[in-house]
């Protein structure tokens, strides 16, 4: 765990060890639910690999792989309720899939279009400006509290984001206002090429919660049951009016930062291999098989189904018509000034020349 912590002696909460053996208290989850968690992890991984393949074929834009981080992504979203809000970065696609965003919509967005997410999913659009979404999550929680509604907000960021001012301001506000929010630091060891220990001298990032009066937990981020369990507790705490929690999950970014990055330039191959041995999907698979909740045949079938689902989503996304070239004017403001209307007409005139098919 040394890449993620300055103080490797601190113990992260764990339910399944790296081989999938139960070493903690099993959370109360039905067989279907467990299977669903497993399927979600596979879906996230397949999705991630597919977008990268598409990008290499010129069919998708820059994308950040989530391979190796499936347990955190799925585990943090699965315990959420329909009324809860989620604010994530670009690396939690698996969380969005769990929350019900259609895969085709997400693929469509990586074609380079802005797709509307279904409003009911209560997922903010993926955030590119690092750390800003943590304040949004806190604001959403504050609003729920003001409105007297039992909704909880979950904000997710990476280890790099904890250095941004907004992260700190978010923790501070969360503490001061006792906002019903769970702030998750998905510590995958690297902020592009800057390792965790260069991001903060704190022994763990979770420890920083103490400075803001926010209770914090450190979790094995590759153990989906542990993440699920901790998140469920934190969410229910918040819902019960007991305030915010800071959760740090320890995981690893197996791939490069994005399709525009080459991690072999700055990472040790041995380190990557050591983390492959802790693969979250395999760990859970072993656990499920050991409990006879999953057979090899079912596993094969699931993988094939997931693959088919992703491929169907790609086909669907590529068949989706592009929005009208002037659509983004509508996204700018509700009421367009005359000046903007003129500009819109101007764009339409020239857009025909640029891409004759897209008029």
């Amino acid at each position: 765990m040394s890449i993620q912590q300055v103080d490797p002696g601190m113990v992260a909460y764990q339910i399944l060890d790296i081989d999938g053996n139960l070493v903690g208290k099993m959370p109360d989850l039905s067989a279907e639910r467990l299977f669903a968690l497993y399927r979600s992890m596979h879906l996230g991984r397949a999705f991630s690999n597919k977008i990268i393949a598409l990008q290499r074929q010129g069919r998708a834009t820059t994308f950040g792989s989530l391979v190796g981080q499936e347990a955190t992504a799925v585990g943090l979203a699965a315990p959420m309720q329909a009324q809860d809000w989620l604010a994530t970065t670009y690396r939690e696609i698996a969380s969005l899939l769990v929350r019900g965003i259609p895969p085709a919509s997400l693929i469509y967005s990586f074609r380079g279009f802005t797709p509307p997410f279904p409003k009911e999913s209560r997922c903010l659009p993926i955030q590119i400006v690092i750390g800003t979404q943590m304040l949004h999550a806190v604001g959403l929680g504050m609003a729920a509290k003001i409105a007297g509604e039992p909704a909880v907000a979950v904000g997710v960021c990476g280890d790099g984001a904890t250095s941004e001012g907004d992260f700190n301001e978010a923790l501070n506000f969360a503490g001061v206002f006792q906002a019903p929010v769970v702030l998750v630091i998905q510590n995958n060891g690297w902020a592009i090429s800057v390792p965790r220990h260069r991001q903060s001298a704190a022994p763990t990032l979770a420890a920083r919660g103490g400075g803001f009066g926010v209770p914090s937990v450190l979790v094995d981020g590759n153990d989906v049951l542990a993440v699920y369990d901790i998140m469920q507790q934190a969410i229910e705490r918040a819902r019960a009016g007991q305030g915010p929690t800071l959760v740090e999950t320890l995981t690893y970014r197996i791939g490069s930062h994005t399709t525009a990055d080459d991690a072999t330039r700055y990472r040790d191959a041995a380190e990557v291999e050591s983390w492959r041995a802790k693969d979250p999907v395999r760990r859970f698979q072993r656990f499920l098989m050991s409990r006879d909740l999953l057979t090899a045949a079912q596993d094969q079938q699931l993988i094939a189904e997931v693959e088919a689902e992703i491929n169907a989503a790609v086909t669907e996304a590529e068949a989706m018509p592009p929005p009208a070239p002037d659509a983004f004017f509508d996204y700018t403001e509700a009421n367009l000034s005359p000046r903007l209307q003129e500009q819109r007409a101007d764009l339409l005139r020239y857009s025909k020349q640029n891409k004759p098919g897209r008029s």
Partner: protein, 431 residues
């Protein structure tokens, strides 16, 4: 000493009018620095300096016509210095705000840009002068910087009205009217020319008007014109245009009849090549053109211009519509390039747009024919013994009777009629 002569600007021009010198004697020019604006038959062209050097003398003044090969300007040879009279450098205008670049500082930049010989005037003053067809260069300025003010323009107008007295039948430069833009809430000057002193006023033909006069003379003098008139049934055409119009609008294109008429004309031109030709009078040879550049007679503020739709047979209807918009707008602004107003092989004249039905069109020399189309109008005609209402399109085809006989003209018109009356037949030959 190096002389620069009026070059061949293309299209067989033999002379050009000097519109505007952009430099003056004593200026040191960079290579390719804009030097002088000249107007040929068709277009206003800017000639860049052929060398980097100092201007010694200007030989042809503004407003004069220079012949091809005539010396326009003389440069010092490197090493030579002449001592031309240098007019006082213009001082910066009285605008003393903290705006960074004044005219004086522009002159002294290391870029060595020579002061333009352009008359200074505010936009409102320029616009008014343009509307009154007054050359600002002719207006006396009362301002220390030489800038022409609205008052100066007003005075010029009053003075011009007093000179040769105005007889009611001759149009005089109009007074600066009470139109908005210029603080002219102050009293507009009253036009009170001395009346009854002289019965006429002379106005020289200049610019485009002069060109048009020369070309009309040449065409009428050289080509024996005959005109065939006809009226064809444009009901199907009107219906087609109606259908296509809304489709075109969705693409942001304004579809008039002209693009359709051009398209319908082309098969006729292809089948009757003599209409897309030219007679070489010297060699007594007919030149059959293999390209189809359709001239579209267009009205501009300064007179008739004929911008050209090049290779009309390779354009779609929408492409023609788009190009027409561009050409017509360019004609209005006189911003078209030489190549855009020359080289037509056949000309189409829409007289219907100003409400006419037909007339005798004059051939656009040196073509062999010209087609004028009038206004589409519902008329009562007799069909199979019954009176029906049809939308009729009047036509007038003038042709060069040296190379085209009446019978051939009749057959050409009949073919055109057949095309217009059943326009959908274009689909049969569409690729």
């Amino acid at each position: 000493m190096k002389e620069f002569k009026l070059p061949d600007l293309g299209e067989g021009m033999q002379e050009a009018e000097i519109r505007h010198w952009l430099i003056k004697p004593g200026d040191t020019l960079r290579l390719d620095q804009p030097m002088v604006e000249v107007e040929t038959d068709k277009a206003v062209v800017e000639i860049p300096s052929p060398i980097a050097g100092r201007v010694s003398a200007i030989r042809v003044q503004e407003g004069t016509v220079a012949k091809l090969g005539e010396v326009l300007v003389i440069f010092d040879a490197p090493g030579e210095t002449s001592t031309p009279a240098r007019p006082a450098a213009s001082t910066p205008s009285a605008n003393t705000t903290a705006v960074p670049v004044s005219q004086a500082s522009v002159q002294t930049t290391t870029h060595d840009i020579a002061t333009r010989q352009r008359v200074l005037a505010a936009p409102a003053v320029r616009k008014r002068a343009f509307e009154l067809s007054i050359e600002l260069a002719n207006v006396q300025s009362s301002h220390p910087t030489g800038r022409v003010t609205m008052d100066d323009l007003q005075r010029y107008v009053e003075h011009a009205q007093q000179k040769p007295a105005v007889s009611p039948s001759t149009p005089a430069p109009t007074e600066l009217s009470s139109e908005s833009a210029n603080g002219a809430r102050r009293a507009a000057p009253v036009a009170s020319g001395k009346q009854g002193e002289e019965a006429e006023e002379r106005q020289p033909l200049t610019g485009l008007r002069r060109r048009i006069a020369e070309r009309m003379e040449r065409s009428w003098r050289t080509i024996p014109h005959a005109t065939a008139f006809d009226e064809i049934d444009g009901t199907a055409l009107a219906a087609l245009r109606q259908t296509l119009k809304s489709l075109a609008e969705q693409r942001g294109i304004r579809l008039t009849y002209m693009p359709l008429l051009v398209k319908l004309l082309l098969p006729a031109l292809k089948e009757f090549p003599i209409f897309n030709a030219s007679l070489d009078e010297e060699r007594r040879e007919i030149i059959y053109k293999r390209v189809y550049h359709i001239g579209i007679a267009t009205d501009s503020p300064e007179g008739l211009l004929v911008p050209v739709l090049r290779n009309a047979d390779q354009l779609t209807v929408t492409q023609i519509a788009e190009q027409l918009e561009h050409l017509i707008a360019g004609a209005q602004k006189r911003s078209l390039a030489l190549s855009e107003v020359s080289g037509s092989t056949f000309t189409l004249n829409n007289v219907g747009s100003f409400g006419g039905s037909s007339g005798t069109p004059i051939i656009n020399y040196p073509e062999t024919a010209i087609l004028a189309v009038g206004r589409l109008q519902e008329k009562a005609i007799v069909q199979d013994g019954k009176i029906v209402a049809r939308t009729m399109l009047p036509l007038a085809l003038s042709f060069d009777h040296r190379v085209i006989d009446g019978a051939l003209a009749g057959r050409f018109l009949a073919r055109f009629r057949a095309l217009v009356e059943q326009p959908q037949q274009l689909l049969l030959d569409m690729i």
